[in-house]
Point group: C2
Chain length 267, copies 2
């Protein structure tokens, strides 16, 4: 990773405001202090490390649901998020969530009535839109509904492999799989085709946003749909989603599994 | 960080089982493949990077509440957790949670009735027991109640500075601060002294486990206490804790803030 000078500036302007002991101080400035005795390359690598840690903290805070709603990845973390999303970190994070979910799924003695359910979100949970986001700054650009819809309509999103493995395990254990997505009803056909082409099969139900659900916060829409499932008798044991709004609200599952996603936030 | 040979073994034995494509394969083994053309030092650094990423994933999974209850830090992540807890990563994670919580606290227009409340857990939220855990493997040793009690009775736990800042901000904004801890009633006096010596002041209530609460899961005990607060008329706006059992259950706060803690898990 290279850090252009702009980023040095952004690093300080972004973090200095929040943490007073990080504020540059001409009397005792870390950067000035080392300017002569140490080579510039060391300064860069220290700042790179600093930026990496701060952006990792930002990602952690998101995964722990500590952040207020956010519109885009912070400018100074755009490169970090890109590296994370295209590197091993994202894959390993997906793998451990899939593994933990699978172990929980196996640990439950299901009833014979076929009413034990596992809910999956679709985007960034079963299907990856990375080809789209790679062309749009990995969350650094403001989300564009029209462009994203055009991408969805291509029906070429990729399977998230660790999720596909969990999906198969959950199906084979006898759970009823319910897909609950923020995608619109008008995208049903392309979504079904995309899911099947990516290797997903035999879901019990695919719930998309109807015209009645338009404008509802995701957390409300999804809670309502889970409440309907419970009224139909389903026991919601597991729920996998990349947004906290997939998992929180009411009628929440016994265990929920938060997949990583530092690219966008849905309330 | 140095990785002794034992860790190489542990790395493979720990992760290989879960992720089949990571299983060593004599025909196509990454390590064997590079044994001649590349120096050993590169192998070590690749494995170090691998271990770091896997252990970061384990920490992330914990912070996102994806892990099943665990007893100790996984052996292969003991060094990683120690480095995290004693390095900048932990501090930055604490700082961003404090900052986000403070922004939320400020964003609320409090009522005049003095019933807007903010709950803080104590251990690893307001007070740090790092001197104790540094002598006990940073979560690598099985938790020892007697030894930990002896440490608590010294009353020398340290303030977590970013939490102290949030605490002051929340107090000054006019919230009623309620401390809700898993510590026992018999530790009230030493806890009060420790908190005051660490700079905490003017809490409205300090709730410790009474004999009635003995043996209750933390998530139950804390939910019951929050429910009592609500019955007394309090509106629980914020809740800061390092365990998900501080934050989940019933009578949950409007926003909750999960402080990092990869050293221990309380159900």
């Amino acid at each position: 990773m290279t850090i252009p000078l702009l980023n040095l500036f952004l690093l300080f302007s972004f973090f200095a405001l929040s943490f007073s002991h990080e504020t540059p101080n001409p009397q005792n400035n870390h950067h000035n202090h080392h300017a002569f005795p140490r080579p510039l390359i060391i300064e860069y690598s220290e700042l790179e490390e600093e930026l990496k840690l701060r952006c990792t903290s930002w990602r952690f805070a998101g995964e722990a649901n500590n952040l207020s709603p956010w519109i885009t990845v912070p400018k100074e973390c755009a490169e970090h998020v890109k590296e994370y999303m295209t590197g091993k970190g994202y894959i390993y994070d997906l793998e451990i969530v899939s593994k933990e979910a699978g172990e929980f799924a196996k640990s439950i003695q299901l009833k014979d009535d076929g009413l034990d359910a596992w809910i999956f979100d679709i985007d960034e949970t079963l299907l990856s839109n990375l080809p789209y986001y790679s062309a749009h700054g990995y969350g650094f650009e403001v989300f564009d509904h029209e462009k994203f819809d055009a991408w969805v309509e291509k029906g070429v999103a990729l399977a998230i492999e660790p999720s596909l493995k969990l999906y198969e395990d959950v199906l084979n254990l006898g759970y009823k799989v319910i897909l609950l997505t923020g995608r619109k009803e008008s995208h049903r056909a392309v979504t079904v085709d995309n899911l099947i082409n990516a290797g997903f099969r035999d879901w019990h139900q695919l719930i998309l946003r109807s015209s009645d659900d338009k404008g509802k916060l995701a957390v409300i829409y999804k809670s309502e749909k889970r409440s309907e499932m419970e009224k139909e008798g389903y026991r919601i044991l597991g729920n996998s989603g990349d947004q906290w709004s997939d998992l929180l609200g009411s009628s929440i599952s016994v265990r929920s599994f938060k997949l990583p996603n530092p690219m966008y936030y849905i309330a």
